[in-house]
């Protein structure tokens, strides 16, 4: 087991290194001239040169990468071109906000997804099963802003229950903040629900058809006891791993949802940075997203291995 985790960690580190090279390539080598991008098309050649010199973008590429990654490893993420603030400060605030939103989304989606999946499995083949399966998967393949717009129209405009924007006024208490975060969290929930429900359904169906469930029924245990004690305990194992994987997907959706609801998390920060060509911010936020994603998949893999010993053998396929 320890060997499996160590190997998985080692692979994760290699992936992380490659990721940093890709990010660096996309943000430093691809844009041929950051000085021109910042100063605009009408600035003089001398100004552009001066900016490039200040930024250090006129140095050899290897030196630039070494400096950048060296800084990253020491917690120095550089300074934002647009805001003239250390990127690490901006990232800290944004990450805190994104985590709040992500946590709320998970608090909503995990119980809902499990409930939906179990309800679906218990009604296998009936209309409720079809509704949950087809509806959940349709919502899962839809871009986040499509569901977001629908939710916005219903809950903010039509019913008027929830605020349109997630940007709460300063001094809003923690509990009040939840009201502002509900709509964006629901938009994320729509997308994630289908996957969790599907995995839970599959796990539950398998357990329901198993011999020990039949034995439990034959023993004369009431349906409720069988489902709570025998079925759920075993069927939820795969769900746990899927929830960890979903964290990675969630991050991708944050850009869209935070933009739609004007919420200043990592996603909105990345969105603004891409439009302002603020490369240090793009680099750091993309790298952060990659790290979170890798950690999430790593957790998912380890959890699956712990929960299912069969996976530990032959884990290098993939």
């Amino acid at each position: 087991m320890t060997r499996f985790i160590l190997r998985r960690l080692g692979m994760g580190l290699i992936t992380l290194f490659l990721l940093s090279v890709i990010v660096f390539w996309a943000t430093t080598i691809l844009p041929s001239n950051p000085g021109r991008a910042i100063a605009g098309p009408f600035a003089s050649e001398a100004t552009v040169k001066a900016i490039n010199h200040d930024l250090g973008t006129d140095r050899p590429i290897i030196t630039q990468y070494r400096d950048w990654i060296g800084g990253v490893l020491h917690g120095d993420l550089g300074e934002s071109y647009a805001q003239k603030r250390p990127v690490s400060d901006m990232l800290k605030d944004a990450l805190g906000n994104s985590i709040k939103l992500a946590v709320l989304a998970f608090i909503l989606v995990v119980p809902l997804g499990i409930f939906g999946g179990v309800a679906s499995a218990l009604n296998e083949g009936k209309w409720l099963d079809r509704l949950i399966t087809v509806g959940g998967l349709s919502a899962a393949v839809m871009p986040e802003f499509v569901g977001g717009i629908v939710l916005l129209s219903i809950f903010a405009l039509w019913l008027g229950w929830l605020p349109v924007s997630a940007a709460w006024p300063p001094g809003t208490s923690g509990v009040e903040q939840i009201k502002y975060l509900l709509l964006p969290a629901m938009a994320l929930t729509l997308v994630l629900f289908g996957y969790i429900a599907r995995i839970t359904r599959a796990g539950t169906v398998e357990v329901l058809h198993s011999d020990y469930t039949r034995t439990a029924y034959l023993k004369g245990l009431p349906r409720r006891t069988v489902i709570l004690r025998h079925v759920l305990r075993n069927s939820l194992l795969p769900t746990i791993a899927v929830v960890a994987t979903q964290t990675g997907y969630l991050i991708g959706g944050l850009v869209v949802v935070e933009r739609l609801f004007n919420y200043s998390g990592v996603g909105l920060m990345l969105f603004n940075a891409t439009h302002q060509k603020d490369y240090p911010v793009i680099e750091s936020s993309v790298l952060l997203i990659g790290v979170v994603y890798l950690l999430a998949t790593l957790t998912a893999d380890i959890l699956s291995a712990v929960l299912n010993p069969r996976i530990r053998v032959g884990s290098d396929a993939g």
Binding site: V23, A26, T27, P31, V141, I149, V150, V256, Y293
Partner: protein
């Protein structure tokens, strides 16, 4: 070329257990044609393809025609989905706007499928070091959500359809390569590959003439599934401002322009393109799902 004997000894998951390849194909086709979900998906998709091809002729109004006196007008018998902030007919813009997404998404997927198939064939056939190196690279690319990679690259290259197609294609390539690799790995053990090797055929011949035809069904399923993801990505990127620039009609861009007005009560300007995106994504996924069932059965 008969693969029947090999199949009996080593029943691959991807090969339908029919007596001949032709019979298997007919059976698969029957399953696809007989599937209700595939039909529903095809009808919706066909509607949008017709809009993409002949949109300007079908649309009830000129998609570019502004009418500032009738801006933000509610849906009516004249303007079925109302008008936008510049008085343009929302429904006509949705009809004409089908073209961009239906051009970029399939082309991007096609690029990714061609690259990914070549890569996957190589990885699965040679295995060893080539496979290890490529697998790590694939994993690094997969560590970022598609939209994030595309955003990063588009921020550097600027927005254009070519850039969109290339970025999405390049991200899809390793994902598709993984599917192809897995299919090739099981195919590689078949007798016909050994036979070709013993005949002294060269690797490219074996890969493209012998192995490729046998892994085509999973590749086609993967293509359809990926088209769905590409539509997701293209719509999302144009919503984030990295799609066609105004005044070109485009679904994502339409929502980007109009969603701030939802709170003012002008919901139709965003909901109409949102419904269009939803219907297209669901249609493609219905087809992909049907194909998947037919091929794996």
């Amino acid at each position: 070329m008969t693969v029947t004997a090999a199949e009996e000894n080593n029943p691959g998951v991807l090969q339908p257990a029919a007596e001949t390849a032709a019979q298997a194909r007919r059976e698969t086709l029957r399953l696809i044609v007989g599937s209700k979900t595939v039909w529903v998906g095809t009808v919706i998709l066909a509607f949008w393809i017709i809009c993409a091809l002949f949109g300007t002729h079908i649309a009830p109004h000129d998609a570019y025609q502004q009418d500032l006196l009738k801006h933000n007008a509610r849906p009516s018998s004249e303007h079925w989905a109302g008008t936008d902030a510049l008085g343009r007919d929302v429904f006509s813009r949705v009809i004409v706007g089908a073209r961009n997404i239906l051009l970029v998404a399939p082309l991007a997927t096609l690029l990714g499928t061609i690259l990914g198939t070549a890569l996957g064939l190589t990885m699965g056939y040679f295995r060893g070091l080539v496979d290890d190196i490529l697998s790590r690279l694939v994993e690094a690319v997969l560590a970022l959500p598609l939209v994030i990679v595309a955003l990063t690259v588009l921020a550097a290259t600027g927005t254009s359809n070519i850039a969109l197609i290339v970025v999405i294609g390049l991200v899809f390539a390793p994902i598709i390569a993984r599917t192809v690799r897995a299919a090739v790995l099981s195919e590689r053990e078949q007798d016909y590959v050994t036979a070709a090797e013993l005949r002294g055929e060269r690797a490219p011949y074996i890969l493209f003439q012998e192995v490729l035809p046998n892994v085509l069904p999973p590749i086609m399923v993967e293509f359809t599934v990926r088209v769905g993801y590409a539509i997701f990505a293209v719509a999302t990127l144009s919503f984030l401002g990295f799609g066609p620039q105004p005044p070109s009609p485009d679904w994502g861009a339409q929502i980007n322009d109009a969603y701030a007005l939802v709170s003012a009560g002008f919901w139709w300007e965003s909901i109409t393109p949102a419904v269009a995106i939803a219907s297209l994504v669901v249609a493609v996924n219905l087809i992909a799902d049907g194909l998947q069932r037919a091929v794996t059965q």
